[in-house]
């Protein structure tokens, strides 16, 4: 439970897109639905239209990505990746996402459970036209299922249980 100690994060950006390939668009708030996904997003279970929807997975209900990784890639690879380009829904600041696999935590008032680390895909290189695959290996975010839904806003706290 070491990972449960000593961190307090915040929602920096929220993004959704309704269909595969389309650009992620910034939102001030998104609606998480327990057991399904995000209203209007491509991976909401029951209305999937995402690139990987042929392989449904409950952990794609909401996906998270660290703002710190964007800074690290800019530092290490001189490559700018914008928050709307990593194609995860929630950009976090101050949350050690890689430590949270298998754990439950609060995302604003919502409760989520991390199922696995996200992995990068060549698909994102096709969309962005940037060689982002290698820099994203082992730090491509976190897949979560939604246990308790609600409205999530930019600026909301992310905290361990």
């Amino acid at each position: 439970m070491i990972a449960s100690l000593g961190w307090n994060g915040v929602v920096s950006h929220l993004h959704i897109t309704p269909r595969a390939f389309l650009p992620m668009q910034a939102q001030a708030a998104i609606e998480l639905v327990a057991g399904e996904g995000i209203v209007g997003d491509r991976y909401r279970i029951g209305t999937e239209t995402g690139f990987y929807s042929e392989k449904p997975e409950e952990g794609r209900q909401v996906t998270l990505f660290e703002a710190e990784v964007l800074e690290a890639i800019l530092r290490d690879y001189k490559m700018e990746i914008l928050p709307e380009e990593h194609r995860r829904n929630v950009t976090t600041t101050g949350v050690p996402l890689n430590h949270l696999v298998g754990q439950r935590f609060r995302l604003g008032d919502c409760l989520v459970e991390a199922t696995r680390l996200s992995i990068p895909c060549r698909h994102i290189e096709e969309i962005l036209g940037k060689p982002v695959f290698d820099p994203l290996v082992h730090r491509s975010g976190l897949n979560c299922k939604i246990l308790e839904g609600g409205t999530l806003r930019v600026g909301d706290a992310i905290r361990p249980l």
Binding site: T17, R19, A20, F21, P23, E48, F51, I127
Partner: protein
Amino acid sequence: MARHIELRVAEARPAGPGIRRLTLRDPDGWPLPRVRPGAHLDLHVPGVGPRAYSLCGDPSVQDAWTVAVKLEAESRGGSTWVHGLREGDPVAASMPRCTFPLAKGAARHVMIAGGIGVTPFLAMAPVLERAGAGWTLHLLHRGALPCPDELARWLASGRAVAHDTAVTPRPSLDALLGPWQPGLQAYCCGPLAMIDAFEQATAAWPSGTARAEHFVPPILAPDPSARPYTLVLAGSGAAADVAAGGSMLAALRALGTKVEASCEGGICGACKMRWLEGEPIHRDRVLTPEERQTHLMACVAGCASERLVLEA
């Protein structure tokens, strides 16, 4: 549909002799992926397969893509289908690919278009103009102009020059291009005979300073030195024997690999794949020397070694 971009025909109208211009949008008006000037779009023609068309709208317009398609007398199915589309019809497309990019850092851009080959330059023109670049578009056409509304602004400003070969002698490409000088970048899109002439006119230019975009793939001569090889997929370990001169694309499909392919002649970039081991023989017209170090075009590539391993 998850592997395709779903679009709707928002507007369909004539745009010159035998040409239909389509404006395509997301069904809900969501922004579309950003495109680079010179990119083309594969439209998935029902019962026919993907067909590539240059995007001819301003790339800064985020919620619409535009193509202008000439009805070909010997249509392979694509242009006939496009000309039958009506507003509101659904269209599936792949991600646009840019195999005909603007040259970064060039001081002056000279473009040679043949007829409907003007389309990629209509997308490049506003980008160059906003960047304050020096550029000229020479359009060779017979009779009525293709895409006259889109060209009007550039003809009026003198950026574009139309050469109607029905009333004036066909200008020589040497005269239009002038001698190469540092900073000059030339482009050509048009019928095969025009591209051949362009490649002759620029044969002595430094590598990369003259770029051509084909409408239809050039016919590749059989390679007399082709040899059989074993194709191996790194992911599954599956392997297939490819006969001398055989199609890698067909072998991949026989192995059950889903490969996007469009022109099947090495120009469109759809079936680009990463190779890991072996000695590929490239034969495409689209990859740069750097890209060939890691990738090949499965539709035309062969192999000089006994074994070729692909990331698939």
